[in-house]
Symmetry: C2
Subunit: 191 residues, 2 copies
Amino acid sequence: AKKQAASATTIFGKRGMSLEEELNESNQYYLAKEIAVVHKKPTPIQIVKVDYPQRSQAVIKEAYFKRPSTTDYNGVYHGHYIDFDAKETKSKTSFPLHNFHEHQVKHMDECLKQGGICFALIRFVVLDRIFVYPASNLITFWRAQMTGGRKSIPLDAVVADGVEINYQLNPLIPYLDGVDELIARTQQGGN
Amino acid sequence: AKKQAASATTIFGKRGMSLEEELNESNQYYLAKEIAVVHKKPTPIQIVKVDYPQRSQAVIKEAYFKRPSTTDYNGVYHGHYIDFDAKETKSKTSFPLHNFHEHQVKHMDECLKQGGICFALIRFVVLDRIFVYPASNLITFWRAQMTGGRKSIPLDAVVADGVEINYQLNPLIPYLDGVDELIARTQQGGN
Ligand SMILES: [Mg+2]
Ligand SMILES: [Mg+2]
């Protein structure tokens, strides 16, 4: 499966696009086909100084990046609330938990409690493998870490509990296939 | 009802807070009580120039406001995807449609098709009345306007199809009461 994914990537993906750009393109496809409405949230900025020149648009002259209080992506798919963050790692063996912040994990936990479908979209850059990994599993590892557990999620665990997504032509990253699987699990009583 | 709402406002609201601040406070209440997870999206910014001074945080030196491609608020409530924008008008008789942009109305239409609960939260500032007004009705007025229809939604129509929300102590703007009503209508086959 790895070899296949790598060759598909050569054909369709990696046209100098970042994971974010590939997801934006995938979301545009889903939107155009009326399959789902998912958008990346803008980066939160603390604006300090704005100039309002005559006859032209306002210019922000001083601003700072703020830490996001939620995940980056959310939207609606077949009546389901979808919420996720996309993360990349260069590790070949595990996904380091420091890629997430406490408030993001808390946000996913809050959304799960409201019946949302929440996950991390994880790309192992070197392995060229992408997974939809359920927030419930991520939260378990996150909490274990706080009480002396390991600081990363082993690839084996990501493979076991996640859903692998292979590049294709349209959408580039068909992650809603993974979401379908998570919805099916929820309806079977798991999460 | 008008007089009552005005006096409640004097007590609880209007502590120099904007509608956005009042909604943020309401959303914080809903979040803390595990009733719903709704956040305002950050304002989208086009960043042109960033300085990275040594030993201190990045400073954005030139940036511009971008037109948002979606509404301002979304989230999850009892398994439902919630999506809305908050708008104020000083008119006493109608809500001017120019408060919305084409892409926002399109976004609400897209979300409705996916089974989301979409609406405008409209405040008539002078009347001191707030309504949850269904996106489906807004879209009808919007399209009629394009073919020669009126350029505003009469207050009577907002009263007839919307749900009036009265200020209270916690949350300040209990707009989910209006959402409950919209969900009930959807389940009765309307929208
Ligand atoms: Mg992110
Ligand atoms: Mg707005």
